[in-house]
Symmetry: C2
Subunit: 237 residues, 2 copies
Amino acid sequence: MRRVVEFKKKARVLLIDDNYEHLAGIREIISLEGQFDVVATSTNANVGVSLVKKHHPDVVLMDINMPEKDGLQAIQEIEKLDLGVRIVALSGYDDADLIFRAMKLGAKGYVLKTMASAQLIYAIEEVVSGKIYLPPALSSRFFEYFQRSFKEEEANISNEENLLTYLTQREEEVLDLLTQGITYKGVAGKLFISETTVKTHVNNIFQKLQVNDRTQAVLYAINNGFTNKRRALMTTV
Amino acid sequence: MRRVVEFKKKARVLLIDDNYEHLAGIREIISLEGQFDVVATSTNANVGVSLVKKHHPDVVLMDINMPEKDGLQAIQEIEKLDLGVRIVALSGYDDADLIFRAMKLGAKGYVLKTMASAQLIYAIEEVVSGKIYLPPALSSRFFEYFQRSFKEEEANISNEENLLTYLTQREEEVLDLLTQGITYKGVAGKLFISETTVKTHVNNIFQKLQVNDRTQAVLYAINNGFTNKRRALMTTV
DNA sequence: CATTTCATAGACCATGTGGTCTACATCATT
DNA sequence: AATGATGTAGACCACATGGTCTATGAAATG
């Protein structure tokens, strides 16, 4: 068994925080631990993104409460670079929406500034090792927000009465084709029925959905859970 | 300070698991602890849902790997009752997709059958106290799945080339109105321009989006990130 | 200053779309 | 046997929509 002598190279960290005091403090904390290299720092999000391009750090600690440029936007830009840079969001607030958005944009961790320095170090370690790390308290908030947003979506879809339920099977088939942007003639061809029959069905659909034209029918269908490809991707039970 | 003597009423638990051995085992575990009441059990999802209606338990432990009726579907049905019943999903697999779907449907916890009984008890305690609980390992899987699904969505939206970027601002305004199912005349009215101008814009839009009619244009817009109300709700950065 | 892009708008025409009515065959329900 | 819902289909008509061309003024770009 080979002896691996303290030689795994240190993870390279880049700090972005508009508050210089914080920046210095964090740098101090990280330096003291000695297990990471701080390759660069910036008090400006735009500059920070440039530095990321230049240095290709392993991890970026990103303050997301910055006045000028939004830290969230910076996260998005860095993710778009697709350099495999892992981002830990730093924030003063445990706002569920902020956490949700940061994670959605690809942040691999979210740490509150009020947390103990050990927690920050731990989060970085976890993220460096490829994991996603949220402190348990934030984890809870995230899940709550997650569930709430889905519940709201469902409420929107099946609220009051879904007029789609009044459609006959045949009418659903027709509507399905309409939501693919197909003409009467096209639908008639696909369903092996005459064009006038399609028109009859379509008119009945309009009646039932209380709309005046195909575009509105298609919109109603999509907004009310009529499964079309991409919604299916995200919303599949 | 009042002395609260061991008198908070026990949380009422209902078990659903098609495997009778498991069911008995879990019941045993819970009973031994003595802090929860098992009010009913069932080896069948449909019956289980009925029992939930009858007993209004505080917590339901739901096996989601059942052959006949899907446990996920049962979760959905129970959630739809809106009785405030909290569901903990039980599963043999730490499949990220399963976890994601269970949580999306409103499960407040997810526990693997292979986990120590103490973990199950702890999960129930947390859930009873109003929290959401996922074991750290599952939490990680959940987050990975979450991020991956969003990344895929983004990839779908901005893959190759988003033809929407070629639209001029005015054309975007027109398209925006089209995605609300408005006619030429209506658009003209809203934008204070003539109907023929609208037609010109619309035709240019068709050219740029490489489609033949308004329905297809609207579909393209929606499927490619053109913000319309409900997408905004879910996808807002 | 020339050129390009953009927003505006008219003319003309073919065709797609929507509204309304009537009609008939099936099938299930009463 | 009668009724109602469903799927089919034709006729007719008004108008919305889409395709193509031309044209002008403003603004930006070179």
